[in-house]
Each structure stands twice: as C-alpha cells, then as structure tokens.
Symmetry: C2
Subunit: 442 residues, 2 copies
Amino acid sequence: MNQRLPPPESKRVVRDLRDLAALTSTPEGAQRVAWGPVWRKAREWFAQKVRTDLGLTAQRDPAGNVWTTLPGLSNRSVLIGSHLDSVPNGGWLDGCLGVVAGLEVLRRHAAAGTPPVTLHLVDWADEEGARFGRSLCGSAAATGALAPKRELAHLVDRHGVRLPDALAENGVELGSMLDARAFLKSQDGRAYLELHIEQGPVLESMKRPTGVVLGTVGVERHTLRFEGQASHSGATPIPLRRDAFLAAAEFALACRDIGLRYSGDTPRTRVVATCGVVKVEPGIVTAVPGVCEISLDLRALDAKVLARMLSAARRASEDAAKRNGARVSWSRLLGIEPRLFDRRLLDLCARAVREMSGDAPELPSGPLHDASELAAVMPTVMVFAQSSPGISHCKEEDTKVAHLDKSIRAFLRLAELTVDEVASLPATRRRAFRSGAASVEA
Amino acid sequence: MNQRLPPPESKRVVRDLRDLAALTSTPEGAQRVAWGPVWRKAREWFAQKVRTDLGLTAQRDPAGNVWTTLPGLSNRSVLIGSHLDSVPNGGWLDGCLGVVAGLEVLRRHAAAGTPPVTLHLVDWADEEGARFGRSLCGSAAATGALAPKRELAHLVDRHGVRLPDALAENGVELGSMLDARAFLKSQDGRAYLELHIEQGPVLESMKRPTGVVLGTVGVERHTLRFEGQASHSGATPIPLRRDAFLAAAEFALACRDIGLRYSGDTPRTRVVATCGVVKVEPGIVTAVPGVCEISLDLRALDAKVLARMLSAARRASEDAAKRNGARVSWSRLLGIEPRLFDRRLLDLCARAVREMSGDAPELPSGPLHDASELAAVMPTVMVFAQSSPGISHCKEEDTKVAHLDKSIRAFLRLAELTVDEVASLPATRRRAFRSGAASVEA
C-alpha cells in the first residue's frame, strides 16, 4: 500500500543546511574534516535533528558510518546517503546536501504514516579523504572495497597523527572496520539514492538546475617521465637539443586533442584528459630541461573508450619523445572502472527530475562519490544540483536557491517513486534492479 | 722590435692542467669554488708556478683578481685572462684552461727576451658566482660594471655565510672592491685575449677543434605567469576549461619556432629560445592547472634580432593565453646587451686559428665570460676549444687532447700576433682597436 505524500518541499532542507554551515564553517569555508572535532559537532547536530524531528536514534556501523532507520511495513529497504564531512575550507553543500535532503525524505515519509518499505539514511564516514588521503573510506568499508590494513594502517596526517589513532578517537577500530559489510548486507537494501552538488560546470553550461547522473566515470591515472639531456640554454643550438619539457608540452597538447577527439556531443559521451602535475629538472632559467615528469588523468564513462584513449595517449607520448630525442616511461597511479548506474532507477530519476524542472538532462559524474561504491552492490542512482560557479572544494562553491529547490524536490520525488517501486517488487526477486546497468551507447 | 718566437707548443699547458686537476678535484669533478679553500689552494699552486717558471710575483687587485705582469719595452699592455674558480663538481677545463695557457704565453715571451709591450695575465676572481649567485664578480668590479653594495652586500651562501665575510676571509673588502677599476686603468691595456672551452656542442657538430668567438650574445630573460582557472579534472569538460599549463605549453612550443625562425644558417646568426623553469598550481593530479609560471631565455648576437624575438614571444604569449581563456603577465629577470668582439682582433684570431687548424670557424658564445666585461673597456677577442661532449659544469666536461693542442697553439699564436700589433700602434692612438665592433650582418 503506497503512502499518500504531499508535494515535496525544499524549505526545511535549505534552512537546515544554513544552520549546519553557520555551526561548522569559518569565513574560509566549511571545516567538517572527517575524524576531527568540527565533523563530530556536525554529526551531533544531525543526531539531535534526528531525535527531535523523527524521534529516532541514529546507529553507527563498525566503519563509523551513521545509520538512521525509519522502519517500514517490509524489511526491504531503500538507502539514501551522502557525507557530512568536508575538505578544509570547503563548500557549504558538498556532501551535506545529500544527508540533509535524506533527512527530509525520512521526515516526509514518517509524516505520512508507516512507509511500505524501510528507509535508511546513511552518513558515510570520511568520503573526502582530506586528512589522510583515502577517499570513500566508510562506503568502501561497507561494500568491502576497502582493505584497511593495507590501505589505511600506515597513513599519517600532516601533523603526524596516525589514521588508526584518529579512528580510535572516534570509536572505530581498524581491525573491525570491514564488519560494516555484514551490517550493510543485513539491511536488505534494494536501491541506493544520493543527491549531490555537481562540482563542475556542465549543468550550468546547459542552463539546467538539476540533472540525472548516469554513473561515475572510469579513471586512468599515470605519471610519465620524459628524459632528454639537460644542457646550457645559451650554448646549445635548438636543433641539437633533447628538451624533455618540450616533449611533455607536445604530449599535453596531444592529450587535449585526444580528449576532444574521443568526446561525443553529449555529456554522456564526453571524455576528459588532464595534465595537472608538471615538474622539470634541473628547473633553472639557463638550462634546457633534461627531465620532465607530467601526470595524466583520463576519464570516460565507457570502459572501451577509456582504453582507446589510453592507447592513443601512449602513442602520443612515444611520438613526442621521439621528435625531441627523449625517452618516455609510464607508471600507473590509479585505475578505476566506470560505474554505470541502474537502468530502472535512471528511468525513475529522469521522471522525477523532469517533473520538477521540465527536463531531464543526463550527465556522468567526473568525481567519485559514495554512490560509486554502492553501485557495485545494489541498484544505484544520483541526482545532481547545478554548481554555480562550476567549482567545488572551496568556499565559493554554491547552488542558487531556485536550483537547489528544484534539485531537492526532484530528489524527494525520486525517493517516493523508488519506495513505491521497491514495495512493488515480487517477493522472490531479491535483486530485481540488478537486471543491467545503463548502456553508454547513446 | 718584434720578438722571434719558436713554434707554439701545448705540452706544458696540458701537463699543468692535469696537475691542477689532480690537486683540486674529487671523483665528482673540480671543486675550486671561489672564496673557498680548494680555490685558494689552486691559486697558491699557480703563484708557485709563476715564481718557479717566470721568477715573478703575482699581485692582487682590490677585487681579489690576481695579476702576473711580464714587463715589456713599453707600458702598453696586452691582457690575457680567465678564471681558476669552478662550479662545485665542475669540469677540468672551464676557466683554468685560459689561465694556464696564459702562463704559457708569458713563459714563451719571457724565454725570447723582453717583449715589445707588457703582458698581464689575470686570474679573475669568482667568475662562476657558484656560491653566492653573482657571476663575473672580479672582472665586473675591474671594469666598473659591478655595484658591490647593491649587488653583493646582502648575498648569503646556503650555509648562511655572508658574502662580505667570505670576501674578508680572502683579504677583499666590499667597500674598496671598485678600486680594482683604477688598477685596471693604470695598466694601459690595449687588448684582452681569453681562451675558454666552448661549453656547448657547436664546434663538435662542425667537427672543428677550435674556433673564433664573435662576441657574447645578448640575453632577454623573463618570467611569465599564465592565469586561467583551476577546476576539477573530472568535472570540467575540455571546452569549458581555462588551462594555464596548456597555454604555457603552446607558448613554449611557439618560442622554439621563434628560435628556429629567427636563426640564420651560421653559428653567427643562430639564436636560441629556452623555457627552463615551469611551475604549475595547484599542481595536483586531479586539478586543471589554474596558474603556470614559465621562464623564457632568449639569446642572439644581434640586438635588433633579439628585440624582434622578444616582440614575437610577447605576441605568442598573448595568443596562447587568449586561446586558453587565460591572462598572461611578464616580469623581466635580466637583460644583457650583446657584446661584439673587436673587428681587428677577430681578424688576428681568425689568422691564428686558421694557421693551427686549417680553418677559422666563427661562433658566438652563448654563456657569458670575463671577456664580456672586458669588451666594454678595451678591444677583446676569445678563442674556443671544442667541447666533447658538448656539456659543461659537470665532471664529464672534456676536450680531446688533439683539439686542446690546436686550441692552445692557436691562442699562443694569437697572443704573439696581438703583441706585435699593439707594439706597432702609433704612439698617439691610445685606443686604436676601439674603431668598431664586429658586425653581425654576415
């Protein structure tokens, strides 16, 4: 029996976000760095809201994720999540938008009686990895993608504090973090929903307040080392040089061309290539660079396209090295597979977004999110709110209130549709949504 | 009355150079850093040679330059100079080749009786500037191009030693260094000659053992700052980026094209453009660079060509900035005018080099030398010995003995021709050679 819910409203969500920002920001931005005192203050504020508004008590899993559960007529559940933690000097919406909107989902469904399925709101711990460098910490622990001993045990922050000690200070034991996996499994989750600020300029450039996220892109991240021969800038004629920097410059420009060449016309088929780190040796004004290290970050939603881009970049690096009398070597920093969201949930999401904004633009997420981890274990989808300006991880991060309103309402509507959908699943089909991920072939 | 001299020989010079290298090098190379103990040891060794071989006592001017004077029938003099100091882990020939060959000039002329004019051999102090950063220190003091209080008083080495204290340790007072100017003037110098290793690959690429140096090139040295907008590598489509590094990469490649376009076919008309320092911000793998600082070093023997290259580079920087949605600003680090050597001495030099090697290839010097300073106050010329390999300021620096032989003999012959030329000047024409610098219009 579906609930009858009033039209979704965003006002309480925006007010709560403003309260949280006032409580946990300085003039430099949000300071809710995971495992620290301001983050704990944010979580206490949130637990108080849960108690006051819902009469519920939040629960922590062994990885430090905080679960708020609104029991339904069935144990089958819909999960809603995001993160209260921020980078230092971060924006007021990154992460907490999704958690606070999730609170509104629970308030809305609670006000209408008992929902047909159970609703879980999860505040994932340490999504940002801002202090110790490992992002998606809590959600990766819950989905089993994290190897705490190998990945976390050795991490130290810039003040010399060890991650295991910071965890212990927050009641989390490194050795039992993976018990969060059993905790997640026991919730019988059938769908995961997340609302997040885009953190990029795509929706703004499309003049759309909110959009449907197709998945998180795959990443190939490498460091290249071009080696030529350092020589005196005054004494070495250009044709006799082996300039490692010019080889890297040619490579970087070729990578931009690769990014443009492999991009389709839509956000779904758009790919990117970025050289963000550049170091030259000896790095003096009077020396032709003998060595240049440069990073490459390739992203695409389609794994095959990503592989083709990587091959093209390898060829470009070898061509650039050859033309400049240099050698090039590659070392891989990171490889992440594309995570495509669930086809059925994408349809529901498009419907909700269209109802609230008149259109349903689709785009992939360049950054990773907790949803990237959840997509590996259950049907998942995300809604993006427009960034304006299209930047994040800084105090200038923002979404206009009119756009925030539409995004939040679309998300509330998506939750409503998803609850009904999960409620209507036949009893035997435990993972009905796992029928297939969305295709990127447009 | 000209002296009758035997054919010039290089053997003693090469033997002395080997002795000096054995005395003042480690396995990592020469360690004769100015104002330090190994440099003082080199100078003591040299003073001992002067006493033993010539029966003369060297004299120090107020800037710490060491003068060895072989009196002639006239006070008119020919100056021969270079430097015994080296960079740390330097080559065995850079600098000391010219001083030791100069000693041979004096030995040769002394052995043949009293020369018609006076010969001065000068070991200039701190040509390299390796410890405190100000190169051509002693020669610039003697020619008046140095402003000790403004340029030297504040300098500190990496161990925290102040330059004035290092000078005092060597009997030099900062406040009276410029008295070296009066000392130089009182010597009635009519020509300055210097033999140096090329420190580049030009003679090697021409397969020539030795060459005539046309002058030292002019330098325009600048730092450029490209400012775009940092943004997330995953979230920002390529067409919406304002990538400061790609603007700088386009600029660097354009500067190479400028260097090739403004170069003529000969070493005389060859120009260079180098980007040796590259720094990006924020300099992280996942961020499109918002800022890129890049250095530009332009060199040409012709001041007009140098000015045209600079204009072309400015246009290229503005075009690159515009194409990438960035801005660019320039700040000048250094400007050095081309110093063209004396036309009459170039003729004598070409004659001497041709006599000893069968050819007289001409090339400019990209690096500066003490001769660059002397050229401002008296007729000057230099001889280069081939570098093989074409690198310097490292222990691999070398000249094959056969090439060293021809270079030294050419230099000894040049000194002989110059002594005769100065002796033949009419008494009234004090600065006969100042009639005009060489033209670079080939």
